[in-house]
């Protein structure tokens, strides 16, 4: 598969992560990758509001969050009529390599995983692939 140079600053990206430190780290990595429009939210509920508000092109989302988890957010997003695009690609950040959670996420229509702590390379690779497939 060819990898074309991606023009990151034309894409909007949303980071949903409950730990501020991790969220900031991810946003810094995304900035280094080249994103300019980065929205943030601290759980699946505020994430959904942010989705409706900013209509992102790609979403990077944690799984273990309260009150609304990443899995629930994904289910809500795919079923939502309020967002601009309910098929927006979602990448899960995860400590879990348990197949149960991975399979649940797959059934809900996840578009990829990045293992925590996310590295520059892993995050970029995932995001590149999804943007290239658009």
């Amino acid at each position: 598969m060819d990898k074309k140079a991606v023009d990151y600053d034309q894409y909007r990206i949303l980071v949903i992560e409950d730990q501020p430190f991790v969220r900031r780290t991810i946003m810094q990595i995304l900035t280094q990758i080249g994103f300019r429009t980065i929205a943030e939210a601290d759980n699946g509920e505020t994430g959904m509001q942010e989705c409706i508000r900013s209509n992102p092109d790609i979403i990077v989302c944690d799984i273990d969050m309260k009150p609304v988890s990443g899995l629930q957010f994904l289910a809500n997003l795919r079923a939502s009529g309020e967002v601009g695009n309910n098929r927006t690609p979602v990448v899960f950040l995860t400590n879990h390599t348990e197949s149960e959670i991975v399979k649940k996420a797959m059934a809900l229509g996840v578009n990829g995983f990045v293992v925590k702590p996310p590295s520059f390379g892993a995050l970029k690779e995932r995001v590149d692939r999804l943007l290239a497939a658009r």
Partner: protein
């Protein structure tokens, strides 16, 4: 008269009251005690007074209980006339109790003896009262005990809840710590990527190393939480002892090498090849015990000795002993065993102390029905040992018992693998020569006399591929000897190189005894020979795993059936077949997204399940796919995923044919 005086003296002195009546029932005498006890008016106690008057007086004042005094008196006198010894009671108005014994005297007359039994009776009453008080209080106590035990139960419930809470809390804390430690990794690595002075770089390196050891401690803590909350259930599955021992030692290989330590395994020939137990947790314990010895030493040989052991409860088990543990490990284990905690200050001072490892081993070994301990070894060293209930598999999968013994050349430089492979072969009656160098292997093969060669690929001197080419260049029959590659990778490229060099088959490390026996059987059997080893589809890079006879080890389910019964095996196969339906879609999605996590979830689960049902082809293909995913080579990933899908389809067919309900 002297007799009368003596009698008077006696009557005055005795404590009992004595009333003497003549034959007409008149008073002859009432002694002093009698006066006192009966409290009679002097007039009624005078000699000659009719007893009737005296008795009437008593009856009237109520000594004989309620009733008509005339009747009571008549009754009393009637009793006296019976001329037999009688006994009465007087209940005096002052609540005193008198008992009266009447004794007829020869020649008429009666002697009545009064004694005061108030105290005795009170004592008896007191006793009764005390008794009923006791009974009441016993009743009370029973109630109290019931209340107490209800309270204890309630407390117990709360304690259990608290323990569960504690486990949950610890779990939560563990999770949070892990996330926090995890979130430090990225910035630390980012720092390393930037311009840093050597000192700063060293500090960041230290930080990353500390994070790694923190993660190990958190792993241990997680294990401990699961142990404490009884969440760990041990498996009862058959496994080969050498495989687990080999895999435990391999896990420590790098650490050992850094410290110039040689790890050796010594398995007593009396140890059964296949036992039933939990291989994964046993490996965990062995890695910890041997790991302690490795961390405490430098430039020595460390031997893990496995011997049969009878357990305290009479079960069949094995004993694993690691020599050359340092005094610190021994001291720490002793502290865990005797005081329940390690000598904290000393332990914390030591570098690389993982803290909970030995404690977890102790709990695990306990779950396995065994014990853990330490004892003096040679030259002032200490030996760490543990036992575990690991009964021999009821029916060992016998495949090669009737085969004539072979002479086999093992080319392998790792001493552990040398021993394990040689032991596996000797167990089946084969003769074994072992060399650790490719050039020696070629020299020996040139002399001839071998029925097969087991060739490790990574050996010093000539590597396995070059040595194979050299052997194949020899004239027949030396050059035609069957050669089996022992590979640590199942990558198609490696397999292809093996075949291209002229090898007949390959087996992955650690060597599975049944697979080894089968391959030897096929390559050296009467109808075979090197020429017949081509096994149909062979050759193409993508088909690297078809050397495993279509990738199905029927012995696995057979052995399992001997342990858990056919019904359970059929259930298991049913589960696998149901799961297999999902795998195709999941693999397609993983290929589509090229997502390592999704691949990991699919292959991880598949490996466990395929291994359990004996689909060795699927297992190896899943391992190869994992390796490709790790290397990040998309073409190889695609090829391996396609191969895995084909292996699954073939495996499902085989299982349906042989085991489905």
């Amino acid at each position: 008269m002297a007799v009368q005086q003596q009698l008077d003296a006696v009557l005055s002195a005795v404590g009992q009251g004595v009333l003497v009546l003549d034959s007409d029932f008149r008073v002859v005498r009432l002694n002093a005690a009698g006066h006192r006890l009966l409290d009679m008016p002097m007039a009624l106690a005078e000699p000659g007074v009719p007893a009737r008057d005296l008795v009437w007086h008593c009856a009237e004042r109520g000594d004989f209980g309620p009733g008509d005094p005339a009747e009571l008196t008549a009754e009393f006198l009637a009793l006296l006339t019976l001329r037999e010894p009688q006994a009465f009671e007087h209940h005096r108005p002052d609540r005193r109790l008198l008992t009266v014994r009447s004794q007829p005297v020869a020649g008429g007359g009666v002697v009545l003896a009064y004694s005061d039994e108030t105290d005795f009776r009170h004592a008896v009453d007191d006793l009764h009262a005390a008794n009923s008080t006791l009974e009441r209080s016993v009743g009370d106590h029973a109630q109290t005990i019931a209340r107490l035990s209800a309270a204890v139960e309630a407390v117990n419930g709360r304690v259990e809840e608290a323990v569960r809470d504690k486990a949950r809390t610890l779990d939560l804390v563990n999770h949070a710590l892990r996330a926090a430690a995890g979130s430090l990794h990225a910035p630390a690595r980012a720092l390393l990527a930037g311009p840093l002075g050597p000192v700063e770089r060293g500090h960041v390196g230290d930080l990353l190393r500390s994070l790694d050891s923190l993660r190990l401690i958190l792993d241990d803590l997680g294990d401990l939480v699961r142990l404490e909350s009884d969440e760990i259930r041990l498996l009862d599955s058959p496994f080969t002892v050498e495989t687990v021992v080999g895999s435990a030692l391999t896990a420590l290989g790098e650490q050992a090498e850094e410290r110039d330590i040689t790890l050796l395994a010594e398995i007593d020939p009396a140890v059964p090849a296949t036992v039933v137990g939990d291989a994964a947790w046993l490996r965990h314990v062995l890695v910890e015990l041997v790991g302690r010895a490795v961390r405490d030493n430098h430039a020595v040989d460390i031997t893990l000795r496995v011997t049969p052991a009878g357990l305290p409860d009479g079960r069949q088990g094995l004993r694993f002993a690691v020599g050359d543990a340092g005094p610190d490990a021994a001291e720490e284990l002793r502290a865990w065993l005797t005081q329940g905690v390690p000598p904290l200050d000393g332990a914390l001072r030591r570098q690389g102390w993982r803290g909970l490892g030995l404690h977890i081993c102790r709990r695990l070994v306990g779950l396995m029905g065994g014990e853990i301990g330490e004892e003096p070894g040679p030259d002032g060293t200490r030996v760490l040992w543990c036992t575990a209930a690991l009964p021999a598999l009821a029916e060992e999968p016998a495949a090669v018992a009737e085969r004539p013994p072979l002479t086999i050349l093992v080319v392998e430089d790792n001493p552990v693998n040398q021993r394990v492979n040689a032991w596996l072969l000797r167990k089946d009656g084969h003769r074994v020569a072992v060399v650790g160098d490719g050039r020696e292997a070629v020299d020996l093969a040139a002399r001839g006399g071998f029925d097969a060669v087991l060739m490790d690929l990574d050996i010093p001197g000539l590597d396995g591929i070059a040595a194979t080419r050299a052997i194949r260049a020899l004239p027949a029959p030396q050059g035609a000897v069957p050669i089996i590659a022992i590979t640590s990778s199942a990558l198609p490229d490696d397999i292809e190189r093996c075949r291209a060099a002229g090898m007949d088959d390959h087996l992955p490390k650690p060597v599975n005894p049944a697979a080894l026996a089968r391959v030897l059987d096929r390559l050296t059997g009467p109808a075979s020979g090197a020429a017949a080893a081509g096994d149909g589809a062979g050759g193409a890079a993508g088909d690297g795993t078809d050397g495993m006879e279509g990738g199905f080890d029927g012995g696995v389910l057979g052995a399992l059936e001997a342990v858990i019964g056919r019904g359970k095996v059929l259930e298991l196969v049913g589960d696998f077949l149901a799961h297999a339906r999902d795998v195709e879609g999941q693999l397609a999605m993983a290929r589509d997204l090229m997502d390592p996590t999704i691949f990991g979830a699919v292959t991880g689960e598949l490996k466990t399940m395929a291994g359990t049902v004996g689909l060795t082809g699927v297992y190896q293909s899943a391992v190869a796919l994992e390796r490709a995913v790790r290397n990040g080579d998309e073409e190889a990933i695609d090829a391996q995923a396609a191969l895995l899908a084909r292996q699954m389809a073939a495996g499902v067919e085989r299982l349906r044919g042989q085991w489905a309900q």
